[in-house]
């Protein structure tokens, strides 16, 4: 029944993770942040449990439905875990910090995909919706067409506008999350809205959905 030392050493070479993660609880929030900085697995698991829904929501709203979303959520947390020893805030600041990382990750992905498309002369195509879940055909179509328009905006404008329009993030928070000043984000959003309206006018289905574009 008991494993020999030789066998025990052999199995540690495998890059496999398991174990049973049950809830990690900390005496107080400061202890949780300290554990996170010290790269403790239970704190990392707790960070994911607490904030994965919000991170996924931000990524989804900026990028639209995306098959890579689960991977991207993980990527955000992997980056956060790597940067945790340098995190100097309290638990209240953790979500904002993760949202900032999520936006940075999403922006990087949008740029990378654009370069890729340009490099291979690929046509700008509306995003595919592969995981429709419980959505109706009309809902899928509305999302597909809206994100096809977001896809045609410059990256910074797209990120700012999706955060304002779809995520309903307050202006100051958008500025902080994007790492720019309030006046810069105001200008960016102004330009983004104008472009978006023009493009919606060219899509009859979206024009109907948005009430004919009436101000």
């Amino acid at each position: 029944m008991w494993q020999s030392a030789v066998k025990a050493r052999r199995v540690f070479g495998r890059p496999k993770v398991g174990g049973v993660y049950t809830a990690a609880f900390f005496q107080n929030e400061a202890q949780f942040v300290d554990a996170l900085r010290a790269a403790r697995a239970d704190a990392q698991a707790e960070l994911f449990r607490r904030h994965h829904v919000r991170v996924a929501e931000v990524l989804e709203r900026v990028l639209g439905p995306d098959d890579d979303l689960p991977d991207l959520v993980q990527e955000v947390f992997v980056r956060a875990i790597a940067g945790a020893p340098r995190f100097r805030g309290t638990t209240e600041a953790l979500e904002a910090w993760l949202v900032k990382i999520a936006i940075h990750t999403a922006r990087g992905l949008i740029r990378k995909r654009r370069v890729w498309r340009r490099f291979f002369s690929m046509a700008e195509s509306p995003p595919d919706v592969a995981s429709p879940g419980m959505a109706t055909h009309e809902q899928i179509e509305a999302v597909r067409r809206t994100y096809a328009i977001f896809d045609r905006l410059p990256t910074n404008e797209r990120v700012a506008l999706t955060l304002e329009m779809i995520d309903e993030m307050p202006l100051l928070e958008i500025a902080e999350s994007c790492g720019v000043s309030r006046s810069t984000i105001k200008r960016t959003l102004h330009r983004a809205r104008q472009r978006f309206r023009t493009l919606v006018e060219l899509d009859p289905a979206l024009r109907d959905l948005s009430g004919g574009g009436a101000p």
């Binding site: 540690f12 993660y21 809830a23 994911f48 947390f77 899928i140």
Partner: protein, 403 residues
């Protein structure tokens, strides 16, 4: 934004929500932690590179020569030998022991129903916290080895030996049975370090502040039962238990499952036909089969078997254990806390003072907390603290009642 854009944004938001598939949380957590570790390792390698190839070569040589002696001990969990994580809780299966294997050759078995945590790993040993239950340890004797087992207020220090520790947090009773070697136990009701030598048993009742050291015959101890003891025997006991026991011995998949060969056991069941096995097996066999299916990577099949157990053996202990196990599976594997709360509630209604009632109530409280149902979480926490003031979930309950 004008009103038309707000309307469009609302449609898009709702559509995205409807399109979002349910994803289990726990596998993602494991992957994030593993990816985080891999990223850290990569960064370390890059840092070495920056300091120069000579240094890296020297470090690599040093690692080859001294690595195994200078690095922390690692461990695996379960028969599948999944890499264990320091400071995470490990709960053994209800019907089977969970083995922990450490890189120095030390082996620790968590017997059924036991909850423990590998609190810290060092170069010369590890510190385990036995939350509740029974563990069997076979610690490899090495010079300067540093192993300890915490059980409530007690600490069992070990250098190299084979022993068992039983800890019941509700009655605050500790028992240490030493088969080989020597251990030292510290804690309430003990003066200084209490040595327990080979073939000795230390029994401590913390509340009565009573400790006794008695002879112990390692050959006489019967292995802990593989099935949880029934809480309400007579009318709830499964009929023809002995007949089922003999049929269990006759089933080839049971022998394979007992050896931890889950895939082979599943193959054997497949050959006979799952439906036939599910209809002919005893309640205890069905519970074991669900464990086998879960460990063999077939969680949906495991759930199906548990539902069959409840249908075929209503109002038995096995039906209640199946309800509890459905709750644990929903909680730990699917992250479906509403489903988990439902099944823990079923168990508590069926067996309010059953052997798993404390754990079911603790988990129910956690499930409500995860669902954001603060009132229910707090009410369950108060009930938990009144019934199990020293239970394994007391810290969570205190947190929920104090906020």
């Amino acid at each position: 934004m004008n009103s038309g854009e707000s309307q469009l944004a609302k449609i898009v938001r709702e559509s995205l929500r409807a399109m979002r598939p349910e994803r289990p949380v726990e596998p993602a957590i494991r992957e994030v932690i593993e990816r985080g570790r891999a990223a850290r390792s990569r960064r370390r390698v890059l840092a070495w590179g920056a300091k120069g190839m000579t240094f890296a070569a020297a470090a690599a040589a040093a690692l080859v020569l001294y690595g195994p002696f200078g690095s922390k001990i690692q461990f695996t969990v379960g028969p599948e030998e999944d890499l264990g994580i320091e400071n995470s809780f490990i709960g053994s299966e209800l019907t089977a022991a969970t083995p922990l294997h450490f890189s120095d050759g030390t082996a620790i078995d968590l017997l059924p129903g036991t909850r423990a945590r590998v609190a810290s790993l060092g170069r010369r040993g590890a510190n385990l916290n036995l939350e509740t239950g029974h563990l069997h340890a076979d610690v490899v004797h090495k010079r300067m080895a540093d192993w300890s087992i915490g059980a409530g207020p007690y600490t069992v220090r070990v250098i190299g030996t084979e022993f068992d520790v039983f800890w019941n947090p509700d009655s605050e009773e500790l028992e240490v049975d030493v088969r080989r070697g020597l251990v030292k136990v510290t804690g309430p009701a003990l003066t200084d370090d209490q040595s327990v030598a080979a073939r000795q048993r230390l029994t401590v009742a913390a509340r009565e502040r009573n400790a006794t050291l008695s002879p112990f015959d390692p050959d006489a101890r019967v292995e802990a039962p593989a099935e949880p003891a029934p809480a309400e025997p007579a009318e709830h006991a499964e009929p023809n238990a002995s007949a089922h026991e003999s049929s269990e011995l006759a089933s080839p998949w049971v022998a394979l499952a007992k050896r931890g060969e889950y895939q082979k056991a599943l193959d054997a069941v497949q050959r006979t036909g799952f439906d036939a096995v599910m209809q002919s097996s005893s309640a205890s066999e069905l519970l074991r089969l669900s464990d086998v299916a879960r460990m063999g990577g077939q969680p949906a099949r495991a759930a199906e078997i548990l539902h069959v157990t409840r249908r075929r053996f209503p109002r038995t202990d096995a039906a209640s254990v199946a309800a509890y196990t459905l709750g644990v599976t929903a909680f730990d594997q699917a992250g479906s806390y509403a489903e988990a709360a439902k099944w823990f509630g079923v168990y508590l209604r069926e067996r309010p003072s059953g052997p798993l009632a404390a754990e079911a109530m603790g988990r129910l409280m956690e499930a409500y907390d995860r669902l954001g149902r603060r009132d229910k979480a707090e009410a369950t926490a108060r009930k938990y603290l009144s019934l199990y003031p020293n239970g394994a979930h007391k810290d969570v309950a205190n947190r929920l009642t104090s906020r």
